[in-house]
């Protein structure tokens, strides 16, 4: 069956070289959604987003409309856009900020208007130098165009957006750590409860934190209506979604796909997406939603790209990044490298995560590079169980934030799915692939 071609919602300008300029943005309908929104009551705008049942695109998949409705009543509130994309193999927000910054800004203003919030921060990953420049340039242009500033487009609504660079810390993608960083502190996730920044957020005020892709969907939703968005996809997974495809595929890239209508097989093998495995080798396994997600084997290739569909099989769609291993990929090395990442990025507040990640990493290192023992497998699983008791999915948590329970995902998947390869490594005294 041929893959289903989705309407382009957030990547509609991808064919244009100058997609990031205000000229191209205005020539392709830019800022008309904002004008339409300003002609509506704020609650009508929020109702459209609710009707779209837009799930947050950051990784947790929390409905954006519900997040908005939780905003505690307060004289002052903030909107913060999370552009600190750092989940390994996720590169859709990088794409959106570099290629269509005005779309992000228009969506952000629409959200701010619906929430009646006038102070907005776009927190972007520091390593995105070009993206930071493009978004800052677009903000400057939006002020000039009258879309930002005092009484925008002649309405009663005033708004400021400040572009805020991060400085290199994966943990700042966690929304409370991001708020700490925005307050000028170390990016330590905050102790919960309160669970939601909508209750206590930036400077203790109610704050909505939304992902870049979530915001980028809003101009289309306002232009076409929430119902049109909800008509795409199936069930809870509505609209389209950007999937970042990487690893051993012929055409890695960012692809906008209608939710649920296509399967992982379509995404990885269809010529309009991944185009198959490099050298037409066999696929060994894939990660369905970033390195925090448990892995899937080829038996689940026909699973639809939907939030609930993936959750039912014991993993998550997460940040929408799909990583593909071929028959020659060393899964022990991949799992070790992912653990090394978590060990490096653990903020250090909670003992299970700080100590556990390093300990697991060292055991995984010797399994991959030589010196591994068969009892290391039990040791690694026991350490993982200390971080996330039961090693179930969704995971149990012993730490302040979800970085901790993300550590076991890859290690446990690799050991459960490919135990014999670990044994081969131990018997070979190192990696047989070297």
């Amino acid at each position: 069956m041929a893959a289903f071609t989705a309407p382009k919602i957030v990547s509609s300008r991808s064919e244009f070289e100058d997609s990031f300029t205000i000229e191209r943005y205005l020539a392709t309908g830019g800022y008309s959604a904002l004008k339409k929104a300003l002609g509506m009551f704020p609650e009508q705008v929020a109702a459209e987003v609710d009707a779209a049942s837009l799930l947050g695109r950051g990784g947790a998949g929390f409905p954006a409309g519900r997040k908005w409705s939780m905003l505690r009543k307060s004289p002052l509130s903030y909107l913060v856009v999370n552009g600190d994309e750092s989940e390994p193999a996720t590169f859709k927000d990088h794409y959106l900020t570099e290629r269509d910054p005005h779309q992000l800004i228009e969506g952000t203003i629409i959200a701010a208007y619906a929430l009646q919030v006038s102070q907005v921060f776009i927190f972007m990953r520091g390593e995105f130098a070009l993206g930071l420049e493009r978004v800052q340039q677009a903000v400057n242009e939006a002020y000039e165009h009258g879309a930002l500033g005092s009484k925008i487009f002649g309405s009663d609504f005033s708004i400021d957006i400040v572009v805020h660079p991060g400085a290199g810390a994966y943990i700042c993608g966690e929304e409370t750590a991001l708020l700490e960083a925005l307050e000028g502190k170390r990016g330590f996730p905050r102790i919960k409860p309160p669970f939601f920044p909508a209750i206590t957020g930036l400077y203790g005020e109610p704050t909505v934190v939304n992902n870049v892709e979530t915001m980028s969907n809003l101009p289309w939703i306002i232009t076409n209506g929430g119902a049109a968005f909800a008509a795409l996809g199936t069930g809870r997974s509505t609209g389209t979604r950007l999937f970042a495809l990487s690893g051993r595929v012929k055409n890695p890239g960012v692809y906008e796909v209608e939710m649920v209508k296509n399967t992982f097989r379509d995404l990885i093998f269809d010529p309009q997406f991944g185009g198959g495995i490099i050298g037409d080798k066999a696929i060994k396994a894939f990660i369905p939603g970033g390195v925090s997600a448990p892995w899937f084997g080829p038996d689940l290739l026909d699973l639809p790209l939907g939030q609930d569909e993936v959750a039912e099989k014991g993993s998550m769609l997460g940040s929408g990044s799909v990583i593909v291993f071929d028959e020659d990929s060393c899964v022990v090395r991949a799992a070790w490298r992912i653990t090394k990442f978590f060990s490096r990025e653990s903020c250090g507040q909670c003992t299970p995560c700080r100590e556990g990640s390093g300990w697991i990493e060292r055991a995984m290192y010797r399994l991959e590079h030589g010196g591994g023992r068969e009892e290391d497998l039990a040791l690694v699983l026991d350490l993982c169980d200390n971080i996330s008791p039961g090693l179930s999915w969704p995971p149990q948590q012993t730490t302040i934030c979800v970085l901790g329970p993300s550590i076991p995902s890859s290690v446990v998947s690799a050991i459960r799915m490919f135990r014999q390869e670990f044994i081969d490594h131990i018997e070979h005294g190192g990696c047989p692939h070297d």
Binding site: F91, A129, A167, G184, S321
Partner: protein, 206 residues
Amino acid sequence: MSHFTPDIAKRADDLVLLYPVKRSAMLPMLHLAQEQDGYLSDEGIAEVATRLGLSEADVRGTAAFYEMFHLEPVGKYVVGICTNVACLLAGGEELLEHAEKKLGCAVGRTSPDGLFTLEETECLADCNIAPVVQVNHRFVRTTTPEAFDAMIDEVRAGKRETEIPPHGTLIRVRRSVGLNAPREEVVAQRATALKAREARVAQGQK
């Protein structure tokens, strides 16, 4: 006497005005200090501390948490090569090993001529062109040893200066305006809007 040059000092002044709480300017101001000196010098940290009304230890302790801030001098060009999972599958470790030879220094060190510092990075979110290489946080998109060598030679010959500014310079586009919606106005606007919304809801319920 300010350690900052007049230009950096002006930008630091403007920065503080963008935040309701001064300390929020910490990360962008540390980037400015790093832009001026190429790394976070003791003087740079002291200057940021003074401007934010914090102790130097507080500023240093915060800066040390973040990978992009260098507390020791680095080369004019910081070369970052990713070896995280997507790049691992595309030969990131091999490219990093090659880079050590090309630059004549180990990971974490600076080349003998002082021009390049080599780093092994975590995922840089450009995984479709893997392994990912950044120079001063600009994506140079060289995935083979040959392309990497050619890029380094060009940088060394000064041919990439418009694209890759010296280490520390992050955002070359300046914010063109200050805040347009003062805090008092924002609070008043929000109060009016919320009141109007309540009235509409009450009307609707009748």
